[in-house]
Symmetry: C2
Subunit: 185 residues, 2 copies
């Protein structure tokens, strides 16, 4: 609940209603919040843990598009809002504690709680802002630079993410990443 209160005020009744519709879920490492090919049916907020958005390229390699960590909105927006199949997976990188809302409950809250839309607008805006700050690594940079700027953009994540997933995010192989790390230390 504190999560929502950062963005606006809610009276006790409203808070109660949200709590009723919310569901506290635990995800094990490797679980999916939503999957490519299926319509994303939940929106979530990460309380604890790291998730990632990934897909399979035409060589069958698993590519990480980006990571999402604590206190962030977790949703395949296009799929969830437009009710179309997702093109990506949203997967737990570590064990996670997440608040989730089903699409139906979400709609209900939007329509019922005055001001909820504004709160959501702010939350979405922050998510967007962060997405811009955390832009995808630039193809024009070399691998070491991409690694260093990952550390700036996602402080503290470096030691919580498997090398293979980070490598696919940075667009290099696991071995190269290992060597880059070595070179930096």
């Amino acid at each position: 609940m504190n999560f929502f209160l950062q963005f606006g005020s809610l009276n006790p009744q409203q808070q109660e209603l949200i709590t009723q519709k919310a569901q506290l879920t635990h995800f094990k490492k490797g679980d999916y919040l939503s999957e490519a090919g299926k319509v994303a049916n939940t929106v979530g907020f990460i309380l604890e843990g790291i998730m990632r958005v990934c897909f399979y390229n035409n060589k069958g390699e698993e590519i990480t598009r980006y990571f999402i960590d604590e206190n962030n909105l977790l949703v395949d927006l296009v799929s969830f809002e437009n009710r179309v199949p997702a093109s990506e997976y949203v997967e737990a990188v570590t064990d996670c504690t997440i608040i989730t809302f089903s699409y139906a409950n979400w709609q209900y809250l939007m329509q019922t709680i005055v001001g909820f839309e504004i709160i959501m607008f702010k939350i979405t805006q922050r998510a967007l802002q962060q997405k811009i700050e955390r832009r995808t690594p630039l193809v024009s940079e070399d691998a070491t630079t991409r690694y260093l700027s990952f550390m700036e953009k996602y402080p503290g994540l470096i030691n919580r993410i498997p090398l293979s997933q980070l490598a696919s995010y940075l667009g290099i192989t696991q071995s190269s990443l290992s060597r880059i790390r070595k070179g930096l230390s």
Copy 2:
């Protein structure tokens, strides 16, 4: 005006008002719609021509983030909406014909014309949609693949863009791009 009518209906008065507030502008190749460090003060729609969003990295190299072509919304949204200095340049790649609105006129239209916000919402949504489709080239792909998928995502642009700008978008040097082209033909 046809541009707006694609997204919703407007009565003659409303159309007249929009026309009054709009300005038809010609940009010469190399002109800027907005510049890094300044607050973006106009929103535009490209009628004819190509523009691009670019910035200078820490080596002083000019990097193209993406291109924008005919019938698309042209605005540094974060800067324009939040009135904060832009971090990127929006520059004409070719001579362009553009409809522009100043921030003030834009606000005025939003507040005055009932339904204008909805039209804008649709336009923005389409812009977002296209931005997703036209995602930044993937670091995990090799240069040839990135070149080929550029051609898919921006059909018809390949021959209208200087090699150097396309190369910086693809994250390779001009020479490499030239060699890739040669290799494909």
